[in-house]
Structures are given as structure tokens and as C-alpha cells.
């Protein structure tokens, strides 16, 4: 085999690799392209034409306007989803980081038992506890409230575990120096240690946002009046009411997806970190 043959072979291999990557990308991104293009198509266009036209002939925003107007409280759904995501993020970061800090850096009786108990809840599928959870939420008077959606799902064993790992990595000297300087236990956590876990905080914020935004079953159970619905629940309602109008439903689906897509594209790095953090624990 000559040097030239080798070069030709390398070019062919590369071309084949790109071809495969593009095919996979069409499979994963194609549905987005189709949904977005349909959402912009005017009433005169055949949305079922084949092959599908990617660029609308008469592009229009009217589908978005109609979806927004026809579905009661569609704007409110976004506010609700943002409130629920915000609340979940605050509680999750606050409580999980404190617990992770205690489990990683503080010595106290019952610590390993507590850690074991927390980890064991990872084994309990949410769908198994949702019935008693519903009764608990009912007892607490939280039915049809956003707090009722937030509280049961906010803190997870996984986020506590992630924060524990982050705090374990910090050097002991920092803590000792702060203690010698007379810093309170709270001060050590809040002013010295917590700021050093910023990457973990960022990862948790983004992950909690995306999972809270996409959550469907629990809000469907807790939220009873349309005014309280989240985007996901509202979108399911839109689909059941206007199943004949493909353009409106696609417009609604695109609107519901835009916030998570923005967050994802802006913070991709953290997604990769968050996804692998759990796997690498070995």
C-alpha cells in the first residue's frame, strides 16, 4: 500500500464517519426542525405535504398568537412553571448543600446512619409513593398549590449525594484556618465552603430547572384548576382540546420547549458534568 492509498483511505473513513454522524443528527434533530417549521406555516399551506417543506411558504406568527389566546391562561402556565422551577431550585440547593456539607465535613453521632437512610430512598420510585404523597399533600392543605408541587420533589438523595461529593474534595486546612480565626460553623459553611462548590451549584440549578420544567405526572395530580397548571400540564390540555389543528399544537410545543433549549444551549458544559457526576461514583 502506497502513502497515497493510505491518504485516500483516511479521507474515505472520515467521509463515512461524517455521513453516519449526520444521519444520527437528522434522527435526533429532525423532529425539532419539523415541529418548528410547522409552527410557522400559514393556514393556506398543506402541513402534511411530502416531502415536507422546511421553509414555510407564507411564514406567520399567527399560530403562536392563537395558541396563546385560545388556551386559557397560557401565559400564566409559564409564570407557574417558572415559580415552581425557582422554588425547587432554591429549596434543593439550600437544603441539599447544607445536608451534603454536614455529611462530608462534620463529625456527629448518627451521621452514617442518616447517610444510609438518605441513600436508601434512591431505591424508592416516585410512582410508588405518589399515592401516600398525595394524601400527605392533602393533609397539609397543599392540594392545588405550587408548594404542593415543589416540596415533595425538591430535595432528592441524588442532589445531597452530589453536594457531599463536592464538599469532600475541599481541603481540610481551609476549615481549620477559619475555625482558628473564630468563624462560626454557619460562617464556615456559608462564607468559606459553599462558594467553593460553585460548579456543583450551577449544575444543580440547571438540572433542577430542566427536570422541574418537564415534570408532568406530579403536577397533573396536585394541580386541579387550569389557572394553576404548569406548561407541561397545559400543553397536554392544549393537545386534547385542539388535536385537529396541527399548527397550533406545534406552536404550543415549540413555546413550551424554548426555555429549556435556551438554558441547555447556554450551559452545555454543566449538563455534561451533571450527567456524568452520578455515573463516575463507581
Amino acid at each position: 500500500m502506497t502513502l497515497r492509498d493510505l491518504k485516500v483511505r483516511r479521507v474515505i473513513t472520515k467521509a463515512l464517519l461524517y455521513a453516519v454522524m449526520i444521519v444520527v443528527a437528522i434522527y435526533t434533530v429532525g423532529p425539532f426542525v419539523w415541529a418548528i417549521s410547522t409552527a410557522f406555516k400559514g393556514p393556506g399551506e398543506n402541513v402534511y405535504a411530502f416531502p415536507p417543506r422546511i421553509l414555510p411558504e407564507e411564514p406567520t406568527l399567527s399560530n403562536f398568537v392563537t395558541a396563546w389566546q385560545r388556551v386559557p391562561y397560557f401565559g400564566q402556565y409559564f409564570i407557574n412553571s417558572l415559580l415552581i422551577a425557582g422554588g425547587s431550585i432554591l429549596i434543593n440547593i439550600g437544603a441539599s448543600s447544607m445536608a451534603g456539607y454536614a455529611l462530608a465535613r462534620l463529625q456527629f453521632p448518627g451521621r452514617s446512619l442518616a447517610f444510609w437512610i438518605i441513600l436508601s430512598t434512591m431505591m424508592i420510585p416516585f410512582q410508588v409513593v405518589m399515592i401516600p404523597l398525595f394524601l400527605v399533600v392533602l393533609q397539609l392543605g397543599l392540594l392545588n398549590t405550587h408548594l404542593g408541587v415543589i416540596l415533595p420533589t425538591a430535595v432528592t438523595a441524588f442532589s445531597i449525594f452530589l453536594f457531599r461529593q463536592a464538599f469532600l474534595k475541599l481541603p481540610k486546612e481551609l476549615e481549620d484556618a477559619a475555625r482558628i480565626d473564630g468563624c462560626s460553623e454557619w460562617g464556615i459553611y456559608w462564607r468559606i465552603m459553599l462558594p467553593l462548590t460553585k460548579p456543583t451549584i450551577a449544575t444543580m440549578v440547571i438540572f433542577t430547572f430542566v427536570s422541574s420544567w418537564g415534570e408532568f405526572l406530579w403536577p397533573l395530580i396536585v394541580l386541579r384548576s387550569p389557572r394553576m397548571y404548569t406548561v407541561a400540564v397545559g400543553l397536554a390540555y392544549l393537545q386534547s382540546q385542539f388535536s385537529a389543528n396541527l399548527r397550533w399544537i406545534m406552536a404550543g410545543s415549540v413555546l413550551a420547549t424554548v426555555p429549556v433549549l435556551i438554558v441547555f444551549l447556554a450551559f452545555q458544559r454543566y449538563f455534561i458534568e451533571g450527567a456524568t457526576a452520578g455515573a463516575l461514583k463507581g
Binding site: A25, V29, P52, Q127, I221
Partner: protein, 312 residues
């Protein structure tokens, strides 16, 4: 509060200052538990107590209005004869087939993008997009793609010479469940790809180099060097994706509503219907307990897989 307190005023302890050991232990316990308390209470109130409560409820008849009545194993006995539940159980176990397919496909995709090539990070992002998309939006878009007779996929298949007549992806009892499962796969590939990518990148390059020096070809190198090193990632993906499969609800609920008939109804959909539409709370709790036992069993199998790795 502190019976052995010798200092009337609490001051920050200075370095080297000796204090009674008991007081110190008390202080450590208070500090530790007060940091742990918020999360621990939430876990207790919303995870552990409900889990115990679910088990208790499964032995009762309860409609959420009158008090629960203890009926022993009657719910479980009834479930064994409940055709709808047994059907849903079969569907959920069938749904688990998503796991092996996802393992293979996402590993192949990870190997595909685990190289230095122009634009490769763009493709990684493209493959991850479905992961962050809300399940409801995913389900809606795909149900229009699968629609018969004029959905996108059917229009495409119609162009092929050997396909006659539209395929009823979501409305035929044999295809509804596999069609929903294919969307579950579409949504999962990117996530598991990232996990395998991390696993691949953690493999020391010396190992591969050694295999190449010993005369291994690419296929041998993959099966004898890469694959064994990936065992932790494989186990993790198997556990996470099978637990996700057992919990399937959003996609079938939106795409088929469990239909046609009950052909694509999963266990969680049954639990939802029994508990929140028919208010058979004790009965639904028993269904949940069975799902929990299956989850535990599967996790046990996966743990054994992990142990096997540790021994070699």
C-alpha cells in the same frame, strides 16, 4: 440546654483552649444535625414516611373518604386475577426491552463521537437535545410523526415500493407499545451517550496502546480492552434506564392514552387510573408495592453485575 456549661457567655473557642469532652460532643451533634435537618425532614416527610404508608395502604381498602379498612392480602390476590393489571405488568416488562437497545445504540453513538474531528462537539449537542425536551412536547410531536394515514413517517414509507397502505403505528395493538418505546429511546440516547463518553475517556490510553502493540485489531481491542473497562458505565446505564422504563407514564399517556384498548397501558398508568380516577387507593397502593418489588429485584440483579466486575 447545656448542663455542663462553665462559661456564662458563649464565645468563639480560641485555638488550644481545652473544653470538657461531653460539652464538645453535644455541640457537634447539635451543629451536625441542624445542618442536616431541613433536607432530612423533607426526605422523611416526602419519601420515607409515604413509602411506609404505601405498604400499609396496600393491605387496606380505602376510598379516601371513609377510614381505611384492613383486608390482609386481598388486594394482592385480586391483582393476580385482574386482567387489566396483568396486561399492564406484561407491557411494563416488555417496555424494559428499551434498556438493552439503549445500551447498544448509545454506546455505538458514544464511540462514534469519541474522536477529535472538526464539528464533533456540535454533533454531541445535537444528540443531547431530545434529553432536555419536555416529555409532553416530545410525545406530541412524535404522535404527529407516527400518525396514520398522513403522518410524516407514513408519507415517507408510502414512497417505498414494498409498503402498501399506511402503517398504524399508534392505533394497532401490536405496534402501539413498540412505537412509544422507540420515542423513549430517542429521548434517552443522548444522556447515556454522555455517560459512555465519560467512561471511554477515563480508559488509560496505555491499555489500548498495549493491545495494539500485541497485534490486536480494532474489533478485538474494543471487545477485550474497551468493553471490560466500561463495565461501571454499563452497569450504571442498565440500572438507570431500566428504572426509567419501569416508571413509563408520560409518553404512553400522551401518545396513545394506553390504547388501543389497553394495548400500551403501563403499570404506572394503571396506578394513576385506579388511585386518582377511580379512588381505589388501597388497590392502587398494592399495584405500587408490586412495582417497587420489581424495581428492587432488578436493582439486585444489577448489583450482582457490579460485584462480578469487582471480583475480576
Amino acid at each position: 440546654m447545656e448542663p455542663h456549661s462553665q462559661q456564662p457567655v458563649r464565645t468563639a473557642p480560641r485555638a488550644g483552649q481545652a473544653r470538657p469532652a461531653r460539652r464538645n460532643a453535644w455541640r457537634l451533634a447539635t451543629v451536625g444535625w441542624s445542618f442536616l435537618a431541613p433536607a432530612f425532614l423533607l426526605i422523611l416527610l416526602f419519601h420515607l414516611i409515604p413509602a411506609a404508608y404505601a405498604i400499609i395502604l396496600s393491605f387496606t381498602e380505602y376510598d379516601s373518604i371513609s377510614a381505611p379498612e384492613f383486608i390482609g392480602f386481598a388486594n394482592f390476590r385480586a391483582l393476580m386475577k385482574d386482567r387489566l393489571f396483568v396486561n399492564a405488568l406484561k407491557n411494563t416488562l416488555f417496555y424494559l426491552l428499551v434498556t438493552p437497545v439503549l445500551l447498544v445504540v448509545s454506546l455505538l453513538v458514544a464511540v462514534l463521537v469519541n474522536r477529535r474531528m472538526l464539528g464533533v462537539s456540535f454533533f454531541r449537542v445535537a444528540y443531547y437535545l431530545p434529553v432536555v425536551t419536555p416529555a409532553v412536547a416530545t410525545a406530541i410531536v412524535w404522535s404527529f410523526i407516527f400518525r396514520s394515514p398522513n403522518g410524516l413517517l407514513n408519507q415517507f414509507l408510502q414512497q417505498l415500493p414494498f409498503v402498501d397502505g399506511p402503517i398504524h403505528f399508534l392505533t394497532s395493538s401490536s405496534l402501539a407499545l413498540p412505537s412509544v418505546m422507540s420515542v423513549e429511546m430517542w429521548k434517552g440516547i443522548g444522556y447515556y451517550m454522555v455517560i459512555f463518553l465519560a467512561g471511554l475517556q477515563a480508559i488509560p490510553s496505555e491499555l489500548r496502546d498495549a493491545a495494539v502493540v500485541d497485534g490486536a485489531n480494532a474489533v478485538q481491542e474494543f471487545f477485550y480492552v474497551t468493553l471490560p473497562q466500561l463495565w461501571p458505565s454499563i452497569t450504571f446505564v442498565a440500572i438507570v434506564s431500566s428504572m426509567a422504563a419501569l416508571r413509563a407514564f408520560d409518553l404512553p399517556y400522551i401518545m396513545t392514552g394506553g390504547g388501543p384498548g389497553h394495548a400500551s397501558e403501563t403499570v404506572v398508568m394503571r396506578i394513576y387510573t385506579e388511585a386518582f380516577e377511580r379512588l381505589n387507593i388501597g388497590y392502587a397502593a398494592a399495584e405500587g408495592v408490586i412495582l417497587f418489588l420489581i424495581t428492587l429485584g432488578l436493582s439486585y440483579v444489577n448489583m450482582r453485575m457490579l460485584e462480578r466486575r469487582d471480583m475480576t
